[in-house]
Symmetry: C2
Subunit: 303 residues, 2 copies
Amino acid sequence: MPLIGCVPNVSEGRHEEIIQLISSEIASVRGVKLLDVTSDSELNRSVFTFVGTQTPLRRAVYRMMRVAFEKIDISKHKGKHPRIGIIDVIPFIPLRATTMERCIRLSKTVGKDLAENFGVPVYLYEQSATAPERVSINDIRSGEYEGFFEKIQRPEWKPDFGPARIHPTAGAVAVGARPPIITFNITLKNVTVKGARSIIEEIRAAGARPRQVKAILLDKGRRNKMTIAVNVFDYKNTPMYAVLEAAEKGARREGAQVVGVKLIGLITADVLIKSLNYYMKVEEFDSSQVLEFHLPPRRNRAQ
Amino acid sequence: MPLIGCVPNVSEGRHEEIIQLISSEIASVRGVKLLDVTSDSELNRSVFTFVGTQTPLRRAVYRMMRVAFEKIDISKHKGKHPRIGIIDVIPFIPLRATTMERCIRLSKTVGKDLAENFGVPVYLYEQSATAPERVSINDIRSGEYEGFFEKIQRPEWKPDFGPARIHPTAGAVAVGARPPIITFNITLKNVTVKGARSIIEEIRAAGARPRQVKAILLDKGRRNKMTIAVNVFDYKNTPMYAVLEAAEKGARREGAQVVGVKLIGLITADVLIKSLNYYMKVEEFDSSQVLEFHLPPRRNRAQ
């Protein structure tokens, strides 16, 4: 059976009842399995991870948007994570027995749905992007909701679907297709903004290839604590531990400390396996040696 | 569905065709799933991991024994790992929707089967043991096959099933029930027997409670390299990394080096999760955040 992943980031991480409502809408779609919900109240953001085939996924995103549209007002949203809309970004990910092309097509169908049904401007990003400056979500998002009233009027930022004006309460949405990535936030203490930027450079340089590790600073260092959001694209060649060790090295140099790491959404088993191999010198080990991989899932935290 | 694990250790790790034949016998039993085969030619030993319900497991062990009985002669067996018979030890492990009591009963049925059908003496061990000195496999196994001609005649070593004489080509078998454990071999270099014994003490002391980490020296240090076999019983409270760090600490003190770790059979996802949490400071992370735990198994290395 073909399996596509969908990982929308919603600009709501504080009101449990809204997060719960969105979870229920996703889980209510036949053919969709909700795997994880990771919320963060400081970022005021929740990441939903679910899997399914094309039509159920399209339906689930529509239902999520309907609830978000009713319950979230982006003009009142405050949080550390940059965002342009109530559902900020919707990536589709080919997981099994499917292709990137199918995910690109699905992202376009979904983008059109959202523009037509909710009147929001939609940008296609990553593999679905229609221009090089729209590939990276960070480029699309720069200026954020507040800056988009102006940005959207520039011809080069005309949306791919929907009106060339930001929706006052829903903002704008980025939809696209991309391979699986690993996403985590690193929290540092005793660090200045300048120090954090230098640590970010260290983290980016840990990538096996250029621009495969993306890192942005999420806050301006109140309370001497800062969070760096990291996306590892090329995680097959850039192990998570290499990124963490770069962060530790940078932190030592800046007199700062890594206090914790929070994984956003799912990782693949490979990340765990490589960690065991690297830190514990375990040899010839693969996921077939993990009992749970052979058993049907026992429970589902997200439901 | 109730699920019991079975992890027989077979005294053959060199002849691929025999290992393959035993694998096929196990896999041919309806209701049994063979998950892993870990072989080691230096130890001359293979560990088969499979799961199922009582009757299929009983049948699989019978079929294994039938092949082993025909193909392996324990009187000619040489290898680093201590052993008393062709199938040295057969633990049953309650995994899901079953009880330790059921596994104890199954171990007794299987022990009786083997004694009656193959004329081998059988010892019940761990939770199935009939005397305190028979709980630990190391106590049962001491003296090995070669010492059992004499040992078995002592009244306190009368077998639980079968004749009070060692079978000349099949040896003896230990069968029992126990909780899941983690088993791995640590290889050291630049180490003396005395140094290895001191590292073993360090490893044992890493257990959260006494006698929950068992460790034995597998060889006598030819080529300056030695292997320590470790069983972690209380792995929920004694993380694998704590054992490895104890080994590293002991090795540093003795001027030796840990060169590698080989996992025998399966581990549980918890071990991986704890490794990530510990080494990479990952917080609030559990197995529901690992993609593969939600998906049906893709392949099976062992089959």
